[in-house]
């Protein structure tokens, strides 16, 4: 439904050129919710604006549906108003001089999505019902709360039934509780309408909950594309691993590659670890190993005989409600772990730390 190839965009400012997007490529299938995730300033908004036509890329091709909307360095370009996408900005961009109804009706009254007069009222009412704003039609826009503005912005983007919806951090202005509610609601709505969406966020939790597929961006490039589970469980590089969830990253080198078994030995600053190795592994190769805090097992009963177990001292233990977040020092290195709330630990305590073999991932 949407295809972007080799997208490049440079901003020329007084202080020189700044490459905001550097060769981004992805494809979004029909009905899919595609997430652009990455830290602030990594070029997410710029990519989205290029798709909408608000920014002219320097290079690349953009297809929306069957239509090539940008190609040949701008020699072929379809203007914004003809692209027929729906969009929600982070600021919502609700027109303050209009009421809720007028805001949502605007696309149907002027421009290329113009509908017959008789239909307008009904379609607006239907869309407002969809987002749960049916009783606020006549409210002037400046009197809306943040959540209501977000719903109006969404209704305005949906009212002309675009095939493609572009959302730029639509939930980031809401408080935590409302945000959690809206995530679920928004996903259900988009699935019900079978909308193809490109969704920009820097909130990893939002990305994991809402999306079908995630593209992790960093420094203007896409570092990995995959399903939320893939990205979380099998990050391809340390940037992705570090950005999604918390990760313990240790430099390591491969010390033993067994002949037929897939498990080998890597040496790390905290000691030798047994883990599964890819077929291509070679002795002496430098790698990074990654494991998640929640996979680490901690016991107070002293070191047993099990593999990958080390002695450590609890440096910090913070109770966050559902669990403990601890930092444990092993051989002078800090390891982050999570413990169930039933397992009470205190800082200064001596513990045994086990890193299960299956939880360890090797990153190039």
């Amino acid at each position: 439904m949407i295809r972007v190839t080799n997208l490049r965009k440079q901003f020329v400012t007084k202080h020189g050129a700044l490459a905001a997007v550097r060769g981004v490529a992805f494809e979004v299938k029909e009905g899919e919710i595609f997430m652009l995730l990455g830290p602030s300033g990594c070029g997410k908004t710029t990519t989205l604006r290029c798709i909408a036509g608000l920014e002219a890329p320097d290079e690349g091709e953009i297809w929306i549906g069957e239509q090539l909307v940008f190609a040949d360095r701008g020699q072929k370009i379809v203007p914004v108003y003809k692209r027929g996408v729906g969009m929600v900005f982070q600021s919502y961009a609700i027109w303050p001089h209009l009421t809720v109804f007028e805001n949502v009706a605007y696309p149907l009254v002027y421009g290329i999505f113009k509908a017959p007069k008789s239909e307008v009222r009904e379609r607006v009412a239907k869309t407002l019902r969809l987002v749960g704003m049916e009783r606020l039609e006549d409210r002037p826009a400046p009197l809306l709360s943040g959540g209501q503005q977000q719903r109006v912005a969404l209704a305005r983007a949906l009212v002309y039934e675009p095939k493609v919806l572009l959302l730029d951090e639509p939930l980031s202005n809401l408080d935590a509780k409302l945000r959690a509610e809206m995530r679920v609601e928004l996903r259900a709505l988009m699935k019900r309408l079978n909308i193809t969406a490109v969704y920009v966020t820097h909130d990893q939790e939002e990305a994991l909950v809402l999306s079908d597929r995630i593209a992790v961006m960093h420094g203007g490039e896409i570092k990995q594309i995959g399903s939320p589970r893939d990205i979380y469980v099998r990050p391809e590089n340390d940037v992705v691993a570090g950005f999604i969830g918390t990760a313990n990253l240790l430099p390591a080198s491969i010390s033993t590659v067994p002949g037929n078994a897939r498990e080998g030995l890597v040496s790390t600053p905290i000691g030798a670890l047994v883990c599964s190795l890819p077929p291509s592994a070679a002795v002496g190769q430098a790698v990074t190993i990654m494991f998640r805090p929640e996979d680490v097992l901690v016991s107070v009963s002293g070191i047993g005989q099990s593999r990958n177990t080390f002695a450590g001292i609890v440096e910090q233990a913070v109770f966050v409600g559902s669990r403990f977040q601890c930092v444990i020092s092993v051989n002078g290195l800090k390891i982050e772990c999570e413990l169930p709330k039933s397992q009470v630990v205190e800082s200064g305590q001596n513990v045994a730390v086990e890193i299960p073999c299956h939880a360890i991932h090797l990153l190039p």
């Binding site: 239509q67 370009i77 379809v78 003809k82 996408v85 600021s91 961009a93």
Partner: protein, 597 residues
Amino acid sequence: MPSVIPFVRRRARIATADALPLAFSWLVLAVVIFLLAFVLYMTFVPSLPTEPGFTLRHWSNVASSRLLTKVVPNTVIVGFGTICIAAFFALPLAWLLNRTTLPLRTTFTTMIGIVPVIPGFILAMGWIMLLDERIGLINNVAANLLGLSSLPLGVKDTPWGMAWVLGLVLTPPIFFLVAGPLCRIDPSLEEVAGVIGMKQLTTLRRVTLPLVWPGILGGLIYTFMTAVSIFEIPALLGAASGKVPVLASEIFYSVRPGGPLTATFAYGAAGVYGTLLAVPSLVGLYFYLRVLERTERYQVITGKGYRPRETDLGPLNWIGIGFVISYLVLAVALPLLVLLWASLMPVLQLPSREALSKLSFINYDSLLEGLGGIAVIWNTVVLVLCVSLLVSFFSFMVSWVVVRTRIRSRKLIDMLVMVPHAIPSLAFAFALAMLGILASRWLAWLPLSGTIGIIVIAHIINRMPYGTRVMNSALGQVHHELEEIAQVCGTKTPTVMRRIILPLVKPSVVYLAVWTAMLSFQEVTMALFLSGPQNHVLAVSIWELWESGSLGTAAAGAVAMVATMSALMFAILSVARGPTAGLVGRGVAEPPVAEEP
């Protein structure tokens, strides 16, 4: 299936999206550039461009003794004199109304803001009636009291008289220019001085003044530029009779002979004088911009988010209030009152029991006829409405290009549109008058010379710098996403302008239209220069009544004009409530120059 919608070339996209505002912008700028080039061109043509030839005679004539010994010295005296008078009033006023706890400060500030709306030539008429050697009321009182046979003071036929009236008229611009930096001084800087143990007066001299000095300097240069390019006030006060010629009057009478100075047309000479007037103005603008840069540096140093410390004058409050009131009396009340008195008298004389018995409305009875009938009223209405609508329209378009597009020439456009601010309005009027004459020879179908249209064009050019400043800041405050989402929703630029942006900046547009209308209503230099038998406007008619000696009727006209303006202003302020009224209120209190760079 391949793409259905045909591609549009990139250049074509710019053409469709921004063509409209861009075209209107360049239309205005082309006129400005063309007129300036035309002024220069005229200085090398023997007479009219209809006759062939090339000459440097006009330039070599600059060295003529009359110009060097009379005109230029007079102009310089008028310029510097104006600065002295205006600074004498404006600097204490700015300090009193911004940095002290004087009662009624906001009211006084608004009143000073209204002064520029009152036509300067009307104030000059008032001052002539007060201080003329022959008829001046103050002079007569003084002579009676002191038992003098000859009258002591005179505003007429001396450059100092011109400077006095111009200084009163141009005090508000300096006031508002200084008020800005004065409000922004970080109080901690002054407090440090207080800690060191300086007395208040020393603090003012050593710390406050150096900090506002850039703003003061900027105001002074601006005042000089304006003062030397005003025609009507010097003309009333002695330039018209040829006794005290200044550059502005030289231009005027070279193109419109009939005064005692020149009996023949001297177009080339007028072009040279126009250029001579423009050069100091451009130099002034250059310094002015430099000064502004410095002021901004001060802003950066001091930051925001504090209230300037205010001095409590205590018992001296009365002196402060007295000073403010005496300025308002001198600049507004006294000249207007004497005009009101004169308009009610068959012959101007001192107020007395005998005079009171002669009070009559006879001057008002013949007013409409004397002004030139309904046609003049009609012309004035057309002028004011056209100028205010077109200036708002073109300013919106130019600012759209400058603020809301990424067209590469937008910086250039923004600079060019400021040029009329530096070039005296007389130069533009001169170029337009010449074009009008040429058009009447070559393009007889094009009605230009002697029409109200030519005055409209002159006024539009003159008001564009201010209009674009207002619109730039208004459009700059509309978040770009509000416009972008409208495009995403499937509407093109013209619809977005009409339905989204224009309603959002409406208060600013209304304010701009009202303020422009006011200033166009009272403008007389250009309207007079371009006047013919058919296109008299109210201000011009009053001026000519005065020049022809009908002082009583002219005074009645002036009173009627000021009354109309006050009535209109109150009407608009009470009709337009909310943000517009607020803006007009603020705009009136901080008129043009406060925002113009």
